[in-house]
Amino acid sequence: MRREVRLAGYGGQGIILIGLLLGKAAALHDGKEAVFTQSYGPEARGGASNADVVIADAPVDYPLVTRPDCLVVMFQEAYERHRPGLVEGGLLVLDQDLVRPDPGEGAFHAIPATRLAEGLGKKIVANVVMLGFFTAVSGLVRREAVEAALRSTLAPRLLELNLRAFATGYDYAPHAREAA
Amino acid sequence: MTTLMAERHPSDPLFRADRLPHIWCPGCGIGPAMHAYAQALVESGIPLDRHVCVSGIGCSGRVPGYLNIDSYHTTHGRAIPFAMAVALVRPQLEVAVFSGDGDLFAIGGNHFIHAARRNVDLNVICINNFNYGMTGGQVGPTTPMGARATTAPYGNYEQPFSLPYLAAATGAVFVARWTSLHLRQLKQAILRAMKKRGLTFIEVLAPCPVGFGRPNEIGDAMEEMMLYRERCVVDHGAPLAALDIDLRQRDHPIVLGNFVDIERPVFDPLAMRRPAPEVEDHAPLARKEQEG
């Protein structure tokens, strides 16, 4: 099993952090192999931000994402840029307030991540709300593994809020499935 | 062997007798300056085993190789960053850089200004003989305007550095200029530099009869020494901006002295991690005690 995940948004949304958390959860807390990469080239400029994670059962050879199996987008431009690369029948996850998918878009999972984060009092945890949601709908990494990654990565003063944000996103999943 | 030599001259234990005679030309000003430094090594009260001398390339760069202390003859221009690292790793050592004007201020100029800015604990002694002697008398960053050199056959048209002014401007805590005629004052200045913590700079004007004197009709070394004696004035309080050397104007004095002696925090990469900042910088001393 090898799954390629691309998370895309704009700078400041914390996309890189959730990519790192996802990879760390898989590699350190879920008995899997994972590689996390991010764009450093000119394409990383101009506000766009994306994080790539490869998760596999066996050691990862080619470390880069070429055709993502899962695409998480939190920004309209990110959707437009990366949607064509998603594999046929791949998992598309989006922030429904920030991304308006094509009318012909097939099945996808939508969550008002940023709005839910605002409800938690901190818009900046929208990324972790999204991470929770993605964890639930993708089933790639166990919930406990991601929570362990949050604990081993974040400063203690930020932890409680982020765990709540993660739970908020995770628990939103059944509703999201109905909406899709 | 060494004992025998020591009977011949009291300074012999300071030198690697088995390396003499040296390579310098008759009349060269480097030898006397080296001797002043060697005497300062003894009079400093710091054991010879704790002195380190580092140089770059050029005639003056050969000095460390003649001294009977830990000595490093590095690449052209790089003595200062090399010596900085020695001083940082072993803060209990007294580290000097002994090199020439071309080495320290042309190819190595960038390192000098940054070491001075950081106030690295180094004593920089620079022989200034106004040319590249080792390669046969080329123009350099201190060659006076109008002077002739093999690569300035019509006369140098570039403004030279005033080294003490440059050193002071970039942050050296002690700045002096002497000549290889003023050996007692030079030795005293070196001793003061050794007592100071931070980057000290001493310029030593030195005759280079072959590379500089001859093409500039100064004559032999004695004549250049005479020139120093006639035109040098000691003025410790001279304005730093007025220290330029103009050999063409006979009435333009060459100002010598100990121009700068200030206190400034010494470069210490761990300074910001040490407890309670103090007015006086004791932190590196504490480190010396730990290590020494």
């Binding site: 990862v60 470390p63 990654a149 | 010879l48 830990d70």
Partner: protein, 385 residues
């Protein structure tokens, strides 16, 4: 802020560059001098944070000339010292790489390779400094260069680089590339007592006696090293020198010294060389790949095997010394050798020195990782030879 330990024992999800930094700390590196340059800057940043935690010294220098000079100075004073850079900085360091070779001063340089020549592609991968690592400074000398293919190897090989540097008193390179430096993967850091440590050979006589000549080599051609301030009153020079360290600028002394500098590595090459082999037992096509490209090659070999092509992979871990004798023996029984690399054929040329079989390069100048597909295509072609 709580201080971290020198050896960050445990499992981590680490950036390759950061793993290099942690490898240095675990190896006992306590001096780093460097100049920021993409894509190696994260090494400097990590060490700027971590070295002071363990009482080590971090200095951001004015340029790479100074950085390299400083680590040589730190090493003669007894510290394990390192710098990190990328192509343009590596070029500047070559001057004092030569000094370290000539003065026999152990030191470690990490080069996280990017697109070149000149400023090239600051943020994008290449593997085009392989020959520069070997021959970059003027004159004859030998170095060792390791090519990590993962963050774990960034850690392991940086540790090894320090040990090899100290064992042979030479500059050692960790020749990483942007993909490896900028990828994050699991890195397992062993406990401090499980970190291999080779001590620098030191004088066996007390200072002050007549017995010690600082450049008199033992039977292994490596002289014991006295540090500044120990009382041995050493003289080190970049000039050709004799056993005392004194300049000896004549043909005889020069040949004797340079021959030893070269021989002390060549004679031990069998011990220094490292490589990884997979599926070579029955291989008809051997792929030789290193660094990040080896990961693409591994995929290509796997797919080729699925297609029934008997392909195998030789991954040099030391590029220098190059495991040429291993290549010679392997190549005897294969139809062709495939050498994918992100340059115009630098290691392919080295491979050609060891075999008369066809050597098929898979080359790209850099800017992106070499994907498995062109390697697979070439394996298919090689299988017909």
């Amino acid at each position: 802020m709580k201080d971290g330990p020198a050896v960050l024992e445990g499992q981590h999800f680490l950036l390759g560059d950061h793993a290099c930094a942690e490898g240095a700390l675990a190896a006992g590196c306590r001096f780093f001098a460097g100049y920021p340059i993409t894509p190696s800057t994260e090494i400097a940043e990590r060490l700027a944070h971590r070295l002071p935690e363990v009482g080590g010294i971090f200095v951001q220098m004015e340029d790479e000339l100074a950085s390299m000079a400083a680590i040589v100075g730190a090493s003669v004073a007894g510290a394990r010292a390192m710098t990190a850079t990328s192509g343009p900085g590596f070029s500047l360091m070559m001057e004092n790489v030569g000094l370290a070779a000539m003065m026999e001063v152990p030191c470690v340089v990490v080069n996280v390779q990017r697109g070149a020549p000149s400023t090239g592609l600051p943020t994008l991968v290449a593997q085009a400094d392989v020959m520069q690592a070997r021959w970059g400074s003027h004159g004859d000398y030998e170095i060792v260069a390791y090519a990590p293919a993962s963050p774990q190897e960034c850690f392991d090989l940086t540790v090894r680089a320090f040990n090899t540097a100290d064992q042979y008193r030479i500059p050692v390179f960790v020749l990483a590339d942007e993909v490896v430096g900028h990828m994050t993967e699991r890195v397992v850091i062993p406990p401090p007592d499980a970190i291999p440590k080779v001590e620098r050979k030191r004088p066996r006589t007390a200072p002050g006696g007549d017995g010690f000549l600082p450049f008199q080599a033992d039977d292994d051609l490596v002289p014991p090293m006295a540090h500044a301030g120990e009382g041995y009153r050493v003289h080190f020079t970049g000039l050709t020198h004799d056993e005392r360290g004194y300049p000896a600028t004549n043909a005889e002394a020069h040949d004797r010294l340079v021959r030893r500098l070269v021989e002390k590595v060549r004679r031990h090459a069998w011990r220094i060389e490292e490589y990884e082999e997979s599926q070579l037992e029955d291989a008809r096509v051997v792929v030789i790949a290193y660094g990040s490209t080896a990961r693409s090659a591994r995929r290509a070999v796997a797919v080729a095997r699925e297609e029934g092509i008997r392909a195998g992979l030789l991954r040099p871990i030391t590029l220098w010394p190059f495991p040429g004798e291993r290549v010679r023996r392997l190549a005897e029984r294969v139809g062709a050798v495939v050498v994918p690399e992100l340059n115009m054929g630098q290691i392919a040329r080295e491979v050609e020195r060891f075999t008369h079989r066809p050597v098929l390069g898979v080359n790209h100048a850099g800017g992106a990782m070499l994907p498995p597909e062109p390697i697979l295509d070439t394996i298919r072609e090689a299988a017909t030879r």
